[in-house]
């Protein structure tokens, strides 16, 4: 009798979720952005969800839950109801570098999520102070070989994109500069412009205006192709550096066990948003790379997360970088 009751309850429950998934969404959806409002991830989230909201017929509300390199917000998102009403915008840090940086991380980027799709690729640019005694990547690498001890590298704090990508860059070029930490990209750029620190790696949206304004130098962009925002900046490959292609990608995730119909609806909305002329234009103005059709699927995102975790973990562990 008990078993029958249980079975009935389960069926009823399933039926209910089925109906819910069909009508989804019937109320506003919360998207957790694990960083402060106004940062690069927040901007991408707001641009992409603007059009997604229209497709879904329900507003996607951004909730900024910042802290611990984005892992606070993603932890909360991973533990929320898998009903499609809480989704999140993860990125290279939260779903790639975090397991190496935070040994006590309470989620597994590869297992605890239902990936929705990649939203944008954000290229990383290698920049240096205006007075740096080299004008291209080749000259920079030569200088680093002889003066490596003297050089200071800025980053925006342990766990930030500029920190992880910077450590990776140093390991590729086998440099050991003195690392100088700042609280965020703004202060780091300020000291780079003031010639106080020597170089850093950061997301294109943060550094492009200063490169265009001639306040800092750009040596290379770590993507397979040049960016239309910075057409004069060569790719790392063109500049003669192999093995350094990184992107601070942003992608939409739902908690694991989110019904597949809901994942599909969200993915459809995301794909439509990325095909929208206005969304594309706004993302490209920021230097963002629009993912190709093949890259936008949930399966492709799952693969990306797995490969990113596999890539970042050894690099960051070797550098002894932890944030706990």
């Amino acid at each position: 009798m008990k078993k029958i009751a249980l079975a009935l309850a389960t069926v009823a429950g399933l039926a209910a979720t089925g109906a819910q998934a069909q009508d989804y969404p019937t109320r506003p959806i919360t998207m957790i952005v694990p960083f402060a409002a106004g940062g690069p991830t927040d901007v991408v989230a707001r641009i992409v969800t603007d059009h997604m909201s229209r497709t879904l017929g329900q507003q996607i509300v951004i909730e900024n839950v910042a802290g611990a390199g984005g892992t606070t917000g993603i932890t909360r998102g991973a533990q929320s109801q898998p009903d499609g009403y809480t989704i999140m915008m993860g990125h290279m840090g939260t779903h790639g570098a975090a397991p190496a940086l935070y040994p006590n991380l309470r989620y597994d980027p590869t297992k605890d999520f239902a990936p929705i799709g990649l939203a944008a690729g954000t290229p990383i640019v290698i920049v240096a102070k205006k007075d740096f005694p080299a004008n291209d990547l080749k000259g920079f690498l030569e200088y680093m070989q002889t003066n490596g001890e003297k050089v200071n590298m800025a980053h925006a704090g342990v766990g930030s994109v500029s920190h992880s990508t910077g450590i990776f860059f140093n390991s590729v070029i086998k440099a050991k500069p003195t690392m100088v930490a700042y609280r965020g990209t703004g202060p780091a750029l300020n000291d780079l412009m003031a010639n106080t620190v020597d170089y850093m790696t950061d997301q294109i949206v943060n550094v492009a205006p200063q490169i265009q304004g001639g306040n800092i130098k750009a040596f290379a962009i770590a993507t397979p192709e040049r960016s239309p925002v910075l057409p004069d900046v060569p790719t790392t490959k063109e500049a003669g550096l192999e093995g350094y292609e990184v992107s601070a990608w942003n992608a939409v995730f739902a908690p694991k066990d989110t019904p597949p119909e809901i994942v599909k609806k969200l993915n459809d909305a995301l794909v439509k948003s990325l095909d929208d002329e206005n969304t594309r234009k706004r993302l490209q103005e920021l230097g963002g790379v629009i993912p190709s059709a093949a890259e936008r699927t949930p399966e492709a995102l799952q693969k990306l997360v797995e490969s990113e975790v596999a890539r970042w973990t050894p690099v960051l562990k070797a550098a002894g970088a932890t944030a706990e």
Binding site: A36, G67, A181, G186, A323
Partner: protein
């Protein structure tokens, strides 16, 4: 000069369009109303209201956001004066004498002088930005980690002077503040410090949480055991606007505050927080009777409020001319600009002159709006104090909880304001003052980070602080200030020894 005039007329042409005028008004009004909620400072307000600007063109949206910023800033001062809850670092000083004035039935005068002082400071700062914005940008770049550390040392000396009573107790409180600021992830190494393994402490203690607990909640508790205080606030409302005598006392502090605030506002890394403290210190030092400070001196409201507003405006300089946000609010403005398709940087001035000059013109208009909105509102705010305290305090408590939760959406923050409230109450009972502690907390983090940065860059050589001329002069000023502050108490100490 001709350029400036034509640029300004372009700016006013943009800002005075009916739509932008309305947006400036709306921004200031909404900002004021939300800013008045305890704990909801400019950052939370702008973040919350960002989506409503999506429908406008970029210039209109930014004008509105800037209005929200000034409005929230001003609303925060209102809360500081009326209920002694500073929403952010800059209104801590306003709470000191402003709330004392409110207790003496001079809440209207305090609010009025704050509004008028702010307006004046805002006007001057707007002119400074328009005329000298570009050349002043250099100032932001001169201040590296070394200079910053020395500036913070000077700031801590201000904190000693802030104290009303015993210097020893003030120093103790500053050190507690500095200690509290070290809680959380270490910036250089990523190690957790003093977090007891609690995840919510890993990002440190939020200023709003500390300030609300130690000032606001403690104040409520104190009011509940001191019946006579609240009666005073309730009975005597007094004049609503400052009179001639008040203006006579205030105009010089306003002028000095404007100058100090405008200068410090340009500095990167939140130099603007020092403005009100520096202004308060200065006023107290040059006053004929420094004992009035902390007991409702109007100069203690007029100076810091002007400094606060001037700094709030000039902190737009690095943002507008360089695209580098000097503090968290400006970082949010950067985000707002990028969302609207304008990527802040050195090119904004030439690429989007309409936006650039329109925003500058709208700053002044925003300040005027604030005056227009706030002078009539003073009556409303003051009448709020007439509400019996037994009905008012649960409402304040509730707003505090909602406000603090809305900042980070963390339930632990709500519990922390209760904890800090208890601590604050105990401190008041023991004769310790919370203001120096808050300044220590704000400056502690900046000081530690810049000290370590400077030492890393100099490869451990302490002489870097003396080799940099600006740093050396700041340290010298700090030393002189400290001696001047300590001398009387040392002498008094000796006198006491002799009388015994």
């Amino acid at each position: 000069m001709g350029d400036l005039l034509s640029n300004l007329s372009l700016g006013f042409g943009v800002a005075l369009s009916l739509q932008n005028l309305f947006l400036a008004f709306l921004g200031c009004l909404v900002g004021t109303l939300i800013g008045v909620l305890p704990g909801v400072g400019p950052i939370a307000t702008i973040a919350m209201l960002l989506p409503i600007t999506f429908g406008f063109d970029p210039t209109g949206a930014l004008i509105m956001l800037a209005g929200i910023y000034y409005g929230a800033q001003y609303g925060g001062s209102t809360t500081a004066i009326l209920v002694n809850i500073p929403g952010e670092a800059t209104s801590v000083v306003t709470a000191l004498d402003g709330h004392e004035m409110a207790r003496q039935g001079r809440a209207g005068v305090a609010l009025g002088i704050a509004a008028i002082g702010s307006f004046f400071a805002g006007t001057v700062a707007t002119i400074v930005i328009a005329a000298l914005g570009a050349p002043l940008t250099g100032l932001a770049l001169i201040f590296g980690p070394t200079e910053y550390f020395s500036l913070m040392v000077m700031g801590l000396v201000f904190a000693v002077v802030l104290a009303r009573g015993s210097i020893l107790k003030a120093v103790a409180m500053i050190l507690v503040g500095v200690l509290l600021s070290t809680v959380g992830l270490d910036l250089e190494t990523g190690e957790e410090r003093m977090t007891f393994g609690l995840p919510f402490l890993s990002d440190g203690i939020d200023f709003a949480v500390l300030a609300m607990g130690i000032f606001g909640i403690a104040e409520i508790m104190r009011n509940l055991d001191h019946t006579e205080h609240r009666e005073v606030v309730r009975q005597a409302i007094g004049r609503l606007l400052p009179n001639k005598e008040d203006f006579k006392q205030s105009y010089k502090p306003v002028l000095r505050g404007t100058f100090i605030g405008a200068l410090l506002g340009i500095l990167p890394g939140n130099g603007a927080v020092l403005g009100p403290f520096a202004s308060y210190t200065l006023e107290k030092k040059i006053a004929k009777d420094p004992r009035r400070f902390g007991r409702g001196a109007i100069e203690g409201v007029a100076g810091p409020e002007s400094a606060n507003n001037a700094g709030a405006q000039t902190s737009f300089i690095p943002l507008l001319t360089l695209g580098i946000p000097p503090n968290a609010v400006m970082a949010l403005m950067v985000g707002a600009m990028t969302i609207h398709g304008i990527i802040p940087g050195p090119q904004v001035m030439t690429k989007n002159p309409n936006l650039f000059w329109g925003m500058i013109a709208s700053m002044w208009i925003g300040n005027l709006m604030l005056l227009v909105i706030n002078l009539p509102m003073i009556g409303v705010w003051v009448r709020l104090l007439k509400v019996p305290y037994r009905m008012l305090f649960p409402a304040i408590l509730m707003f505090c909880c909602i406000g603090i939760y809305s900042v980070n959406s963390l339930p632990t923050d709500v519990m922390f304001i209760a904890l800090f409230g208890l601590v604050g109450y105990t401190l008041i009972k023991l004769g310790f003052e919370p203001a120096p502690m808050l300044l220590g907390f704000v400056l502690g983090k900046l000081m530690e980070e810049n000290l370590r940065r400077a030492l890393i860059l100099s490869r451990g050589s302490l002489s870097t602080f003396i080799d940099h001329p600006i740093s050396a002069s700041l340290l010298a000023v700090a030393a002189i200030l400290l001696i001047v502050a300590l001398l009387p108490s040392i002498r008094r100490g000796r006198d006491e020894v002799f009388t015994e």
